[in-house]
Symmetry: none
Subunit: 196 residues, 4 copies
Amino acid sequence: MAQKARTRDKRERILAAAVKVFAAKGFYCARVSEVAREAGVADGTIYLYFSSKEEILRGLFEENMRRLIDGLTSEIAKVSSYTDKMTRLVDSYCEFVHKEPQLTEVLTVELRESGKFMNEFAAPLFGEYLRVIVDILVAGQKTGEFGTNYSARTVARAIFGALDELALSWVMSKSKWDLRASGRELLGVFLHGICS
Amino acid sequence: MAQKARTRDKRERILAAAVKVFAAKGFYCARVSEVAREAGVADGTIYLYFSSKEEILRGLFEENMRRLIDGLTSEIAKVSSYTDKMTRLVDSYCEFVHKEPQLTEVLTVELRESGKFMNEFAAPLFGEYLRVIVDILVAGQKTGEFGTNYSARTVARAIFGALDELALSWVMSKSKWDLRASGRELLGVFLHGICS
Amino acid sequence: MAQKARTRDKRERILAAAVKVFAAKGFYCARVSEVAREAGVADGTIYLYFSSKEEILRGLFEENMRRLIDGLTSEIAKVSSYTDKMTRLVDSYCEFVHKEPQLTEVLTVELRESGKFMNEFAAPLFGEYLRVIVDILVAGQKTGEFGTNYSARTVARAIFGALDELALSWVMSKSKWDLRASGRELLGVFLHGICS
Amino acid sequence: MAQKARTRDKRERILAAAVKVFAAKGFYCARVSEVAREAGVADGTIYLYFSSKEEILRGLFEENMRRLIDGLTSEIAKVSSYTDKMTRLVDSYCEFVHKEPQLTEVLTVELRESGKFMNEFAAPLFGEYLRVIVDILVAGQKTGEFGTNYSARTVARAIFGALDELALSWVMSKSKWDLRASGRELLGVFLHGICS
DNA sequence: GATGAATGAGGGTTCATTCAT
DNA sequence: TATGAATGAACCCTCATTCAT
């Protein structure tokens, strides 16, 4: 029991260290031994928990995307109007980004590069995330809350892209402006457009 | 003169080869010797035109972002209304993506990862690109064409992010749907919102 | 006593496991943890009985060469003519090989490679084995049973080499032919030559 | 042309270096960088000529076994009686061993261990070598020069084993006795037996 | 300028060995 | 005694870069 806790703990420590190091250097420039040092374990210990460097990234994606998606899902369940759901989604995401900027950096930056070697892995998780947005839009269209003169899928991608860019520019910039406010602003544009 | 043309030609061939190889494998997984083979030159020749592998990426960004920005700028100059300018921008960008999917893949994917080691370089170009959008928005706000209840900078980023994501999903997907139409749809949402 | 028996038992199990694993993979490609798994003990337990991987091989040689030499010695003691002694020697050896092909593989193959790092250890045992043959030859030469126009030492080595090769080719081949018969044939050649 | 000569030369230098290092340490304990240093090339250069460490051993076997077999074959062609052919074979082999003790050590020691990972490769060459002996014996049996009361294949293996052991003990021992004489003695035993 | 053989620093990974439990 | 998670030194191989031709 204590054993299992220790083991779990060490795996978590490695993942947390990987987030820091990958965020700082990028996956390819990060050294496994740096992750080990950051985690406070020996180089070899990494390989008791992950079969390769790539597998660390995979594990990191899997666990955190799951956490993110589950968080968003449970948040949007708390309200019933689809506009409110979208608001909750944006707010939650901004909060996530605000709380874990390094993780955000890894998820947004490496998810793209990863397309090269782990798309078949990342795709389902990304698809699940996207579906959360799509589902809100589709349901909102059905109730008449949202218009039907656009493809929910395309708009969901646009919203995802806009949020993604917003998040990335926030975590990369030194001066931390009000992310939540920008999220709300962004949402307002998507809901009502920019035309006066 | 012929000499210079030849030289210019070889540099272009290397850049074109780099686009293909970087798009296929990603910058880090791409081998310089693959780029050389694709360009039909010897490995060493690469270093007569670029001082390092990284420099190839830099050159690739520089020339193509310049081309893209100049293209967009001249396009939007052809119309006067800001809504029209936005339309031209989106159309032009979609056309660019459609014509050069591999280049798009490199520009969108590597631009992010590159933040780790060439941000100080990529930032100005990216800023310039963003400014094109910001300028339209700000000018549109001034003339009253667009509302003022949002930050032009934030929305510009949102539009960039949405377009970026749209482009990426298009170049990565096998089945090539109508990109121009999606761009127009996306623009419609930004202009008028999704609320019914 | 029961304690000692248990301890002895575990040591034996490790050695037996090592024979299987070393035979299958070779000493260098064999993993200590594989030996441990095969023996049904923990990795660390190995080191309660052997100070290193090399020491396992040493122990394996020592005990089994001793067993082999003692077996051969007691067999050849049962007859008095030196030709008979040679026959017994060959028969016994073939029987040993037949009964323990994996052990044979380890003894014949690794004994050579081992020359690199444990010759000073393996040499005495090998010398003792060789002496058994030499002694028969020398004694047979003294009684006139064997000719004296050759060096007993050289011939002993030749016989050893021939038997060794015979054994190795038998254990390595899939189809198991009649080893005993080949041994007898080999002996016949050594006794009477191949000239008609 | 000069290029090819240089290339060939470098490959040869690496193989020669490998012989020295493998002989001294054994294949598994030998370091690729030691081979490189001994050959006077950079570590990476090795991999321009061989795809892996194992491939060096393969190349080493292939070229030298070929040389050995061809040498033996041409030697035995010079005489017509089969007893003479056997004599030439033994003499030639002893000469080979005498001239290249380190190579002999590698060929005899590693050929065995190699059975673990490259038997399918080494087998044909070994088989060819064995066939040279078998062919002499069979032909000698047909002409009546040799008796027929034994299997040529078994005796060929015995002779190979005896020679192999003789060679190995000679190269491993510090005091270099008369190898040629021992070879002749060994041959005498095989031809006429040890019985008085 | 052009070549491509050569370089050698560097890193992901393995695995014999240890030691806290 | 026994365990097996943890260690970390060591090594094969890669590949961006150089330079003699």
